[in-house]
Symmetry: C2
Subunit: 455 residues, 2 copies
């Protein structure tokens, strides 16, 4: 172990420089305008793996963005860790809220600022560097396979096809993923639960063209008013989602688990100050941490319609749009929820309007057992490098492919995330702590050692 | 009269060519990007007046866009008609819905298609040409003054200042405006009522930055959901506006007037087909025509927030915005309504949000008496050229300056409009019928003759 750690310490500066280069590539998977950059990013990941000593590195084309695959087989009889990550990033807008350009990485107060710094380039790259260190010091204790995709931020549809078609190639004993965050550097935690996701877009149409609000206002219904009323109908005054059947399959978390969760340090005052809000809004009967993890949600992620330019335009618009996502908890099925939501939207659409509901992408919720060899290997690795046993926590985020890996490959995933909520992923000024980046690289070899020793 | 009409018939083609040139100028007053074009448009209007034989034509600068003023004094002892119009236009977007470029006029099936064709360049220009014809044929029976502004579409604030500062210069006996429409060419009408306007913008702020909807969703309130709920609270299930005190000053129209209004031809089926809607939405107890004219309204003219680009972004946004306008009826005061609205918005803003309400512009409602010399002169002029007595009608639109003229100059306005609702003003593919353009030029001299003879 020491030699591996020495190698890491000796190469820190180079690791950081390499990450900076990776972050300069605007690999935005949601926007076709960036297709070239996404492809270029896959090439850079491939090169990094080869330089790390990984064999058979290949760029696997898909109907969308490619998947970078590579493996290092030490001995067929040893266990295999399949590392998953993604090299694509969220769109960077609103650009005006960034203090520095999103794809021009800047290091300030011990953090690296750039889109994708934490989600997921920085965390994915830790694994490439950790494996490089183990190989370079002949300390790789088992086999490793890499599967790094370019469509995580848009639903991983093609990864699903790739996984289904390459079960033999992807044969492994556990999947290792760093795409989540910890409570804090003082209170390390491991994510043992993820919410699922249903994401839909609503197009509401009233009159067949934009109208003069003076000539027609008062006789013709307004799609923005109507869509607002429909969105208001999606939750009741207790914060309950009113979509028929929405809660039918929701797994009720046990009193014991909720008490364990409540022991995690949480300061409501600093939480509100950090976000600049006077009050939170949680479903009746639940705490903020519960609302953001063990309960399903319905959020409008984007809405637009009518005149949004400067000044005043008195238009009664023809159309209004909303992008709405629902975070789901164990036992809720995204496809079923999307159907229920669509039916509900049709039910509450007024007779003055016509509606179109388009599903974007979904993902299954997932839970990891804490008594498994893999979880224990991860827990002990963090104990070694952080000096504290990590708290097992449910996260509010979604990594749809975790459920996919379980159903297609029969493998559990270990969510060994080193980010922090303050990383502002999906937001302007996304960042990743240098401490977290290096601590991750140091911790991963311990996971490999613990896992190889006990499998 | 004949010689004037002969002059008009002989110069029709030139009049149309000149209008086309005027329509090519994108004089969008709401968007600073077009400031140059607005100024250029004022110059073209000035030149046209001078060519018409109007004296002392000047471009009067204001804090915003300039006002073009000119006059032709035949005899101090004769009555004076003050012609008002505007050369600015609404923004043209959404551009993708135009069949031809908004500022590249096209003549199709007897209509001229362009932004501003009917509102108001085409109608304003009729007066310049009618006065040209009267002067050219020595048939101008009284004095005429022109006041053509460039800020009607953004609230005419600087016109208000100009009028207050130039009462002597603007001395007249009546104000003549063509900026409204008729029921149809078969059923000519004159607008005798206008709705007022209150226009405000709401900025709702939740968290101090865009957040990850997975990490924070369920604990932190969403400004788009919240704004939607607030907008839903602005009307009840009967279509009544719920802003406290909103209806306090509303003038209830007499049963007789409502019966007269009901006699105007209105085919609900073709109305709905024309707009492509299955159902209208009117305040309980009122007809479509009443809802669109004698009752106040509340419409969201634009709304935006969060991610509105391609694909899916799971963001819990920091801000949501809405542009909201209220059409007002006689006795409702725009400033009072704006205050009531602002108080109501603050009242219904949840504790999770902070709100900013910015008033854009407003306008007083107005009514014209049908027994006045000026109204009768207009009614007879239309009777002469259309062969039918026009129906006096309340319109749903707003021309804020009509009330301003009454309060500042003590003058009533005659709304001698030649447009049609099918002109699609403020919408893509705005048009103006060639029949209406020429018929207007022919009718205006009759108004001057009738008015001069009976004043």
């Amino acid at each position: 172990m020491d030699s591996t750690n020495q190698y890491i310490q000796a190469n820190k500066d180079r690791f950081l420089e390499e990450l900076i280069e990776l972050l300069k590539i605007p690999s935005v998977s949601a926007d076709p305008a960036y297709d070239q950059e996404v492809a270029a990013c896959a090439e850079v990941v491939k090169d990094a793996m080869e330089e790390a000593g990984v064999d058979h590195v290949e760029i696997c084309p898909t109907a969308g963005h490619p998947i970078v695959y590579g493996e290092k087989i030490v001995d067929e009889n040893l266990p295999t860790v399949l590392v998953y990550g993604h090299y694509d990033v969220q769109p960077a807008d609103p650009l005006e809220l960034w203090d520095s350009p999103p794809f021009d990485p800047v290091i300030k107060n011990e953090k690296i600022y750039a889109r994708g710094a934490a989600d997921d380039k920085g965390q994915m790259f830790m694994h490439v560097k950790a494996v490089e260190a183990m190989i370079a010091t002949s300390a790789l204790p088992c086999n490793v396979k890499f599967m790094i995709e370019g469509e995580e931020e848009v639903g991983s549809e093609n990864l699903g096809i790739f996984v289904a078609e390459n079960k033999e190639k992807l044969k492994a004993d556990v999947i290792l993923i760093s795409d989540t965050s910890m409570l804090s550097n003082e209170n390390p935690s491991i994510t043992v639960g993820l919410r699922g996701l249903s994401y839909v877009e609503i197009e509401l149409t009233g009159p067949n063209r934009d109208l003069h609000s003076g000539v027609y206002g008062g006789a013709v219904d307004n799609p923005i008013n109507a869509l607002s009323e429909m969105i208001a109908k999606m939750k009741d005054e207790h914060g309950h989602i009113t979509v028929d059947g929405f809660y039918d399959d929701v797994e009720e978390v046990s009193k014991a688990d909720r008490e364990a969760m409540a022991r995690a340090p949480f300061d409501i005052q600093s939480y509100k100050e950090h976000l600049g809000i006077n009050a939170t809004k949680v479903e009746n009967g639940f705490s903020e941490m519960e609302g953001a993890s063990i309960r399903p949600t319905l959020d409008v992620n984007g809405m637009w319609g009518g005149y949004t330019g400067e000044g005043a335009k008195t238009v009664l618009p023809s159309k209004a749009y909303a992008k709405i996502s629902m975070r789901l908890v164990p036992n809720q099925d995204p496809e079923k929820i999307t159907e229920l939501f669509t039916e509900y939207v049709q039910k509450i659409t007024p007779s003055t309007m016509s509606v179109k509901v388009t599903p974007h992408h979904g993902g299954q919720p997932a839970v990891t057992p804490t008594d498994s060899v893999a979880y224990q290997a991860a827990s002990k690795a963090i104990e070694t490098t952080y000096g504290k046993t990590p708290i097992p926590l449910r996260s509010g985020g979604s990594i749809p492919i975790v459920a996919l890996f379980e159903s297609e490959l029969g493998l559990k995933s270990i969510l060994l995330g080193f980010g922090l909520d303050s990383d502002a992923i999906h937001s302007p000024n996304e960042s990743y702590g240098l401490f977290n980046f290096f601590k991750g690289i140091e911790t991963i070899p311990h996971f490999f050692k613990n896992f190889a020793a006990n499998s």
